[in-house]
């Protein structure tokens, strides 16, 4: 056909992209599951402790501090990562550094000087992730007023990560404005903005289903402990009982403006 032949440049070229979104899956949750006596945090931060070192992010670098003897706390080493790094966490063996445009994975074979193992491109440090077995759960949120993390979608994604090089999305659940999330056994808890705190059944992740919702709980993040769930926001800290499949309110510490 004449058009195809002579105008194939246009045909091949012009794919108008509607959105500038890259991929979904971002940094892992910092919960130091494998370590004893290490404090459990909710959202990822610029600090993480792995074995005998505290790793902090500052000025585009990972700084390591030796903490085996806190009275002798000192800088032990620093490695340069990238200018846009924001968060650091670990899974008991490796460090994960979330940046604006990628996620970096570091080995701590030499604890003072983490060594770059790999880099996952097309990942933004916007969206929280938790993992359980071969699945990862990510929330994608439209952050109003943010061009970097603003997008026309508010969803919870279930991703099969059995092959870490090629994660595959297996389920997508519409939500209101999801942010932080946490897992306790077979239950996933997601802060859903003004729509409250949602509880999901993830015993079969590909069939993730919402179980219940605490509509009054406006939280930014959650920390799942043995038998309690701690829901946090800048205005307050609420705790819920999770023992024996309950989801009952326990207490709240409120901020006073």
């Amino acid at each position: 056909m004449k058009i195809l032949q002579r105008n194939s440049p246009a045909f091949l070229l012009a794919y108008c992209q509607l959105m500038l979104v890259s991929c979904g899956s971002e940094m892992l949750r910092s919960d130091s599951r494998g370590e004893e006596n290490v404090g459990k945090t909710g959202s990822t931060s610029r600090f993480t402790i792995l074995n005998e070192h505290l790793y902090t992010l500052s000025m585009g670098r990972i700084q390591s501090f030796k903490i085996s003897d806190p009275k002798e706390l000192r800088v032990d080493g620093a490695v340069r990562v990238a200018a846009d790094i924001e968060t650091i966490t670990n899974d008991g063996a490796k460090l994960y550094v979330g940046a604006e445009t990628a996620m970096y994975i570091y080995s701590v074979a030499i604890p003072a000087l983490p060594e770059l193992l790999g880099r996952h491109a097309h990942q933004q440090a916007c969206d929280p992730v938790v993992t359980s077995g071969n699945f990862a759960f990510v929330t994608l949120r439209n952050q109003l007023g943010s061009s970097r993390c603003g997008r026309r979608t508010n969803t919870l994604e279930v991703i099969d990560i059995s092959n870490p090089k090629r994660p595959q999305r297996v389920k997508e659940i519409q939500m209101h404005n999801p942010s932080g999330l946490g897992i306790s056994k077979d239950r996933l808890f997601v802060c859903d903005g003004d729509a409250g705190l949602a509880e999901f059944d993830i015993s079969n992740p590909t069939e993730t289903q919402e179980l219940s919702r605490a509509r009054d709980e406006v939280c930014a993040d959650v920390i799942a402990l043995e038998n309690t769930l701690v829901a946090t926001s800048s205005d307050g800290i609420s705790q819920y009982d999770l023992s024996e499949e309950k989801f009952g309110f326990l207490s709240r510490i409120s901020a006073q403006k």
Binding site: R6, Y15, V38, G39, S45, I67, E172
Partner: protein, 313 residues
Amino acid sequence: MTERTQRLTASIGAFAVGTLFYLLVRGYAVSPHIPLDIVHLPVAQVVADSFPSFIHSIAVVLLATSFGMGRRGAFFTGLLLSTFLEVAQIFLPLGTFDDTDLVAGWAGVAIAAFLPKLKLADSKRNRMSWPLILVSVSTSAASSSYEPDPNPTFPKKSDRQRPYPPLIREEYEPTYMSYAELRNSFKVEAPRAAGEFGKILILGKRLIVSEPNVGVHIFDNSNPAQPKAEYFLNLPGNVDLAAKDNVLYADSFVDLVAIQLGDAPPKLLKRVEDVFRWNAYQVLKNEKIRFTQRPRMELGVVIGARSIKENSK
């Protein structure tokens, strides 16, 4: 149909096909109301991820020939530019470096320059083809991953709706806490209410939460139904927390402190100085204040802003 009309039709058709491509293959980028699912094959995902680079390089070659460059010149221009742009992503936050993107770019250049049947790079047509240029430039722009500053300081449309601001300009100067004061600022105090909560940490029976830039609140959470406030640690400039073996590590502006927790009241074990970035706007994060004179790092850490009213002429 004239050739111009043909090219225009083809451009529009191509835009439509491209949109369809993004709907089908990169479905998550578009409105969730369209019930199309993503293709789950790894091959499709590699193609989807690297497609922008492929298109980019074809666009570059076409632009080059549109401006009159010969086939070979266009090929080398395309090769150099696509390689350079990809490698530059290692050093600049314009996007991410991907080996598949690099290969896709080379493939695009090769196809655009040398496949005779496609007649993409045809220097005989030296005059510029506007639909092609338009399409190339808009595609390149649309597929780039440049992200503008999320907090731009130029006026937004909403500002224009208000009446003009008064001619008196508000100027701000920083208020400092000297380094000596900073290093003397850690205090263990009786618990008090928090204005807001930041980073939180659970350590054994304790719930430890930062009040951003003010200090750290420690609660006894052995009974989660009744958390009891134990202490407040005055720690200016605190944002982050980590803990292990009953030692709390917290930042205080540019310093890192280690605090012993346990049955006894908290005790400062060690302070490591000048390990975090000095940030003049750390305390002012939520306010749109910019200092007119550069804040001076040697004077201390910035703990606030003071306005000095000044008339503008």
